[in-house]
């Protein structure tokens, strides 16, 4: 790739992810179909297999899926600068929109109608969270170790234990359990 081609491609990456960031509601997984359409079908920067790879990686690395996939596709397409501009593109729309909303919310929060609206909305959000929790619960691995870890994390969190401590303990327990299971298999 010549320098000019590279610049062009980086600009194109930025604009594509700007569009993806600006038009997907609900974040994360909701972005995958649009990413697929733009980056695989239209631009042919990566293949369908790469998308599967990205989902697998995003699930086992920290951070939001939107960022993970933008960084990964940017890097595959155009190295470090590709990943930088793809990530910038995917973040920018929400950044600008939310800054505007934050300023607006401050002015509107005391209006009675807005208060009533948010009173209703909070009950609706609870319903959405319950649905989202159910979706995650169904995807959770189904074995005794996994259920025990989920239950322990639930109880520890209700008892207000530090979330970071819970997360790290779960990783250590998972690692230990998988090594014990592997050893048993060898025997």
């Amino acid at each position: 790739m010549t320098r000019k081609e590279k610049l062009k491609r980086i600009l194109s990456l930025f604009l594509t992810f700007l569009k993806i960031g600006g038009f997907t509601f609900g974040g994360g997984y909701a972005m995958i179909p649009l990413i697929q359409k733009e980056v695989v079908d239209n631009k042919k920067w990566v293949t369908d297999d790469d998308i599967l790879e990205i989902i697998a990686i995003a699930e086992s690395t920290p951070g939001p899926i939107a960022i993970n996939s933008a960084t990964f596709i940017g890097y595959k397409t155009c190295g470090f600068f590709g990943s930088f501009f793809a990530t910038l593109g995917v973040v920018l729309p929400s950044f600008v929109i939310i800054m505007i909303i934050a300023f607006l919310l401050n002015g509107f929060a005391e209006i009675t109608a807005v208060k009533y609206a948010f009173f209703g909305i909070r009950a609706g959000v609870l319903a959405l969270l319950l649905k989202s929790f159910w979706g995650m619960f169904k995807k959770c691995p189904k074995n005794v170790v996994a259920y025990s870890i989920a239950a322990a994390a639930f109880i520890a969190s209700i008892l207000s234990l530090d979330t970071l401590v819970i997360i790290i303990s779960a990783a250590v327990i998972g690692l230990t359990a998988s090594f014990i299971a592997a050893k048993r298999e060898v025997k």
Partner: protein, 195 residues
């Protein structure tokens, strides 16, 4: 000036930690976000729930929306910038490293082992977050007998139940938020509620 710099540093460090230690998409960040925001008094639990609705109805991921919002509230544009940079940076760096040695990463027994613990852990944490949020929605002034004497708790519960049915019937989240808002306004004025 020093105060602003310190605030921005605090925002950056807090959101960096959140970005580094949350695995999985969607609301996986909620438990840590909730803990940090409430601990530092950056928002009340009710404001946090309001903001989940805002985040659902605007484009972009929950993590970026949330960090931008809290950052703006705490320290204006610079606050938003550093909070968002903090939440993005860990995944950016980690993905850059993983992209170079993907095959090794994917077959790593250590990664698989850790993930086998982290996945169910996130489910448990989100479950607890939902319980906390249910308590705030139904008992905004704390759990007590007097909470049952007003109409608010019953109305909240009916809206929740109705929306839960619609949510499980795969009605779009934005539509659910809009309907909840309309019902909230109608019932609020109809019963002259204090919220």
């Amino acid at each position: 000036m020093t105060e602003l710099i310190l605030k921005c540093l605090e925002l950056f460090a807090t959101f960096f930690k959140i970005g580094l230690f949350t695995f999985g998409g969607g609301y996986a960040m909620l438990p840590m976000m909730q803990e940090a925001v409430l601990e530092k008094n950056w928002a009340s639990e009710a404001e946090l729930i309001n903001f989940i609705a805002v985040s659902e109805s605007t484009p972009g991921s929950f993590a970026v929306n949330m960090s931008t919002y809290i950052g703006t509230e705490q320290a204006g544009f610079l606050g938003a910038f550093f909070a968002t940079l903090g939440v993005v940076l860990p995944s950016f760096i980690i993905i850059l490293i993983v992209a170079r040695c993907y095959a090794k990463f994917q077959s790593s027994k250590i990664v698989k082992g850790c993930m086998s613990g982290l996945k169910p852990c996130v489910v448990g944490l989100i479950g607890a977050a939902v319980i906390n949020i249910a308590a705030t929605v139904l008992f905004p002034n704390g759990i007590s007998y007097s909470a049952f004497s007003g109409a608010n708790i019953y109305i909240s519960f009916v809206i929740f139940a109705l929306m839960a049915v619609l949510a499980f019937k795969k009605v779009h989240p934005i539509l659910i938020i809009c309907m909840s808002a309309v019902i909230g306004v109608a019932v609020g004025y109809g019963f002259n509620l204090t919220v």
